[in-house]
Structure formats: structure tokens, C-alpha cells
């Protein structure tokens, strides 16, 4: 039985135009929806698969405002069996603070006899992209850690993880408990079912307040990179533009004349 904890972060869904808040300390997300990173969707799927294969629980956790319950319920809808909200003003929490607060929750659960054998996080959060919460969490708990992992399974009580390395697929075998940061690519997240959504509405979310005094993220401010006015040169329309395209390729030195 492997009990898995998977950590997700509520982030603005920003595929289009991005606006900054007036104080330039955050993204103005009033007119966009919220989501979690693609890596975390894969981590949720991995948690569900491992828990169900071993008869364990898949618990989803998010640190942030009460609104994060929306993302927590999405994870329950696809198969997580229990849920924890660590209530905190996420803007004031740097990656080290998030790791300390999650470590605290894990330790409390352990003391109450509900330990997590495997903790999954995303490789990097979609908004702050710090690439470090998993590693800091592992050190805080004294557990081994891997990042950039595309698939993971539990075999004979050990986590067998695979990730892309410079020379091919690297294979790791970690004793549990361990922390693993998942990277999109090897796992296909499932879509929620109607019964899943119904269950998600009913599932109780354990809410705890973070007691960590945040050191902060060091953010001084945000800036939008300058968007130069469009300077696109339209070479033509349809197949008739092919000679102009090839002329361009020649000018660029991509093909020889």
C-alpha cells in the first residue's frame, strides 16, 4: 500500500494577453481563469495510478487562499481520494516557505499515523517557475528526491522512476519515502467523469493554517517584456507565395541558391 501526496498550485491561466496588477507585484487575473501546471496534472495522474495499484490513498494538497479549493476539487474529480488545503497568503510565500509549510503538514500527518510514502510535485510551477519546492521539501523531511521525472511506479516497495537524460532515458530506484518532481511527457492525465465531479463536490477538504513565518520570495516587482510593434512582412497568400518563401530561404542562407 503506497500513500501518495501530490502538491498542486493554483495559477492564472494565461494563454493570451497578460496584464499586471497596479502595484506590479502580481498578474491581474480577474479576467482569466485559473489552472495548475501541466506537470502537476501529470503528477496527479501518477498519484492516482500508484495509489490505486497498491490500494493506497492519493491525497491532493495545495497551499494558497481558499480559492485553491477549486483546483483541489479538480484533482479529486479525476481520482484523488482525500484533500488538504494549507491556507496561506501565497503571494507572501517564497518556494522555501512553501516547502517548510508542506513539510509541517507531512510531519503532522506522520505523527497521526497517516504517513505519505511518496510525495509528488510538479517540476516547476507554471507562474513563478522556481524549480525548487520539491528539493527543499525533501531536504526538510530528510528524504531522497528526483526532479524531471516522466514516469514513476512502485515496485517491491521502491519507486522506479524514469526521466530524460543527456544520453537517453535515465532510470532511478528510490527507497520510500521519497519526493519526486514530475515533468510532463510520459503520463497522460485523464479527464474527470460525471460521477467523479459529483464526488469532488462532496469530498471534505481538510483545512489547516500554515504556521510558517514566510521569508518571502524576494520579488521586487514584475515587468512585461517590451512587445515591439508588429513588423511582419507578408510574403503572400496561399501556394503562390512559395517562390517568395524560397527566395527568403536563400537570402537567409538556409538553402543555397
Amino acid at each position: 500500500m503506497t500513500n501518495v501526496l501530490v502538491c498542486i498550485k493554483r495559477v492564472p491561466e494565461t494563454s493570451g494577453q497578460i496584464l499586471l496588477a497596479a502595484d506590479a507585484m502580481s498578474v491581474d487575473a480577474r479576467h482569466v481563469g485559473y489552472t495548475v501546471s501541466a506537470h502537476e496534472e501529470c503528477a496527479v495522474e501518477a498519484a492516482i495510478q500508484i495509489a490505486s495499484a497498491t490500494g493506497g490513498e492519493a491525497t491532493v494538497l495545495s497551499l494558497g487562499s481558499g480559492d485553491s479549493v477549486e483546483q483541489i476539487r479538480d484533482a479529486v474529480a479525476v481520482g484523488c481520494t482525500s484533500a488538504i488545503l494549507v491556507e496561506a497568503d501565497g503571494e507572501r510565500f517564497g518556494p522555501g516557505d512553501v516547502a517548510s509549510a508542506i513539510a509541517e503538514v507531512v510531519t503532522t500527518h506522520e505523527a497521526a499515523d497517516s504517513a505519505f510514502d511518496l510525495i509528488l510535485v510538479g517540476n516547476d510551477a507554471a507562474d513563478t517557475g522556481d524549480f525548487q519546492v520539491g528539493v527543499r521539501l525533501a531536504y526538510a523531511l530528510g528524504r531522497p528526491v528526483l526532479t524531471g521525472i516522466s514516469t514513476v511506479e512502485v515496485v517491491d516497495g521502491a519507486a522506479v522512476a524514469r526521466g530524460d537524460g543527456p544520453d537517453g532515458t535515465e532510470v532511478f530506484r528510490l527507497p520510500l519515502p521519497a519526493v519526486i518532481a514530475i515533468q510532463e511527457g510520459g503520463i497522460t492525465p485523464r479527464y474527470p467523469s460525471i460521477p467523479g465531479r459529483m464526488k469532488a463536490k462532496r469530498t471534505a477538504v481538510e483545512t489547516v493554517a500554515a504556521s510558517v513565518q514566510p521569508a518571502g520570495s524576494g520579488r521586487v516587482g514584475l515587468k512585461l517584456p517590451p512587445t515591439p510593434p508588429s513588423a511582419v512582412e507578408i510574403l503572400g497568400e496561399g501556394a503562390a507565395a512559395a517562390p517568395a518563401v524560397v527566395d527568403l530561404l536563400v537570402t537567409l542562407g538556409v538553402v543555397s541558391s
Binding site: T14, S15, G16, I18, L20, S37, A38, H39, D124, A126, D127, T128, G129, F131, Q132, V135, R136, Y139, P144, V145, L146, T147, R162, G163, D164, G165, D167, G168, T169, E170, V171, F172, L174, Q183, E184, G185, G186, G218, R219, V220, L222, K223, L224, P225, V232, I234, L235, G236, E237, G238, A239, A241, A242, P243, V245, V246, L249, L252, V254, V255
Partner: protein, 332 residues
């Protein structure tokens, strides 16, 4: 000093490592101790090692630390970090950095945690020297964050292809220091136990290609990529795709370009049927020239591109291929 973790491949130091050294030289020059040092971890063949030393000379590196020993024969992030920390703490180091590659990011996260200091990921510029204030990419590269790194020592990763590698004005005669770092058993728990061959090996082909032909939802189906693959082939380039394409299973994930895929910096990116969402743009914005092929003249990829052809890629791309073959057969 400023210490840079240098990653190597079969030929020498990687391009992103050289970019990071160039970036580090700028940071070191503005600080009160201008010394630039490099560290490599793990076994190196004598050929590669010689070549890396030449590269370090060109980059103006004063000392090259090489951590070796049987325990380092397989990659383990914690062990690499232990070697970096041992070097960084043995003299007064102000900044430790690596390229923002999977390995660079992983090892720096360990280093920052061990040293109990913050880490800034995907840095593109560093301004003040004390405390270091950096500008880094967040939201997949669509927003820049100014971040202050409090502490005596700053740890950071440099965003891939945000700087280009340039030789130093004054080459150096780097001193090579080989050492065996003190490791604990815990440092070796999370280490590579085997390597399996995978098609993935070709990501390097994509990230280093001079020409990348990109395909998005506009390709329409898995079969819709035949013309794009042919164009890539005719141009001696690689195929890159959007996330929609990998999610739909039309192409493998290792071909994905963007925030959660590869970052590319080719001379030419031909983006076909790709709208240019910020997460995709994050991966292709370093292309020197972008040619967009799209039915929608208002697609962000078109307005941000240098050149565009408006229309159906299934008509335009075969016509380009045809024209290329025609000119190959009958050179002007």
C-alpha cells in the same frame, strides 16, 4: 569568485554552459572579485577534458575544478551538489550558477537548499552586485520578475539562449584542480542505475537545429505532418510541435517546443498552423527569424513573426517543397 557548473557532452562543454560562462563573466566583472571559476563533475575522457580546457581558456576562466572519483560515475544530483558546495565554500564565493537545463536546475536547487540561501531560476540579467538583484523569466517567459537575492551567496540558473556565448577579451591559462568530494551515502541514494536508449536522444537535434519547422493544430492530423517533415528534411532541420499536437498524440512529446517542452534558438523557425500562445512563444522566441504560415492573419504568431504567408499550410508547404526540389534540380 563566481562559480559556474559546466555540463559536458561527447564533444566538450555544452553550448548552454558556454552561454552561462559568458553571462557569469559579466556578473564577475561588476563585482569586487572578478575571478571566474568553473566546476565539472564526473568522469571525462582525456579528449573531452582537453577540449573543455580550451573552451575554458577562451571563456576567461581562472580555475577549473574537476570533481572525480568512482562514486561520481553515475549521475546523482545530491552528489554533484555536494561537490559544488565543497568548492564554493572553500573560498569566498559570491555567486554560483548553472544553465537552466534539467540538470543545471536540479543541481542548483540542491546547492541553494544545502547553503540555505534563495535560488533564482531562469535569470536573464543581473544588475546590482550586493545584494544581487536579478531579472528572471516567470509565467513561462512572458513576464520578467525583478528578484532580490538576500544572503552572502547567490545561487541562480541562467535562462537557455538568453545570452549568446562569446569569448573573453583576454583568454586565460586556467588552472586545473582535480578533487574527490566528501560524499555521504545519502548523496548517492538518488542516482542513475541504468540508462535506456530512447528516441528522446534527439532533443539535442531539436534544441541545436539551425532550422526548425514547427507544426500545430493547423496540421490537422498525424498524417498532416508528412509535408512538414519533408520541409524539415529539405532544409536539413528538425521538426518541432505545439502542445496541442503532443496532447492529441499526433507527435511524440520530445518534439514539443515551449514552456513545458524544449527551448529552441534556430536561425529560422517556420511556424505552421501554430497560434503562438505565450507558452509556445516561451520556447521559440529566441529564433533569429520566424516565418509564420497561418490561415489567420491576426494570430499572435503571425503578428510577432518577421515574415508570414497567409493561407492553408496544406497548400503552402507542399508548394514550398516543390519549389525547393525544382531549384535543387535546376540551380539558377
Amino acid at each position: 569568485m563566481t562559480l559556474v557548473l559546466v555540463e559536458t557532452d561527447a564533444t566538450g562543454a555544452t553550448e548552454t554552459s558556454l552561454e552561462t560562462l559568458t553571462f557569469a563573466r559579466g556578473v564577475a566583472a561588476r563585482s569586487d572579485s572578478a575571478a571566474l571559476e568553473a566546476i565539472m563533475v564526473g568522469p571525462l575522457s582525456p579528449d573531452v577534458s582537453d577540449h573543455v580546457l580550451d573552451q575554458m581558456r577562451e571563456q576567461g576562466v581562472a580555475v577549473v575544478h574537476h570533481a572525480e572519483g568512482g562514486q561520481l560515475s553515475a549521475y546523482a544530483a545530491a552528489a554533484w551538489a555536494a561537490a559544488v558546495v565543497e568548492t564554493a565554500t572553500s573560498s569566498s564565493t559570491r555567486v554560483v550558477m548553472a544553465a537552466g537545463t534539467p540538470r543545471g536546475s536540479e543541481v542548483m536547487a540542491h546547492v541553494a537548499t544545502r547553503l540555505q540561501v534563495p535560488m533564482a531560476a531562469n535569470v536573464v540579467a543581473a544588475d546590482e552586485t550586493q545584494p544581487l538583484v536579478v531579472s528572471r523569466q516567470v509565467m513561462g517567459g512572458s513576464v520578467l520578475e525583478e528578484m532580490r537575492l538576500d544572503g552572502d551567496l547567490a545561487v541562480l540558473t541562467v535562462a537557455g539562449h538568453s545570452t549568446s556565448a562569446r569569448p573573453a577579451e583576454e583568454p586565460t591559462e586556467p588552472k586545473l584542480v582535480t578533487f574527490e568530494p566528501a560524499l555521504t551515502d545519502a548523496d548517492l541514494v538518488a542516482r542513475v542505475v541504468s540508462i535506456e536508449e530512447s528516441e528522446k536522444a534527439d532533443t539535442a537535434g531539436l534544441t541545436n537545429a539551425r532550422v526548425v519547422v514547427g507544426g500545430g493544430r493547423g496540421a490537422g492530423s498525424a498524417e498532416g505532418f508528412a509535408d512538414l517533415l519533408e520541409l524539415a528534411d529539405l532544409l536539413g532541420g528538425a521538426l518541432g510541435v505545439s502542445r496541442v499536437v503532443t496532447s492529441l498524440g499526433w507527435r511524440p512529446h520530445h518534439e514539443q517546443v515551449g514552456q513545458t517542452g524544449s527551448r529552441i534558438a534556430p536561425d529560422l523557425y517556420v511556424a505552421c498552423g501554430i497560434s503562438g500562445a505565450i507558452q509556445h512563444w516561451a520556447g521559440c522566441q529566441s529564433a533569429k527569424t520566424i516565418l509564420a504560415i497561418n490561415t489567420d492573419p491576426d494570430a499572435p504568431m503571425v503578428t510577432k513573426a518577421h515574415y508570414a504567408v497567409i493561407g492553408d499550410l496544406h497548400e503552402i508547404v507542399p508548394a514550398i517543397n516543390e519549389e525547393l526540389r525544382r531549384r535543387q534540380a535546376h540551380p539558377a
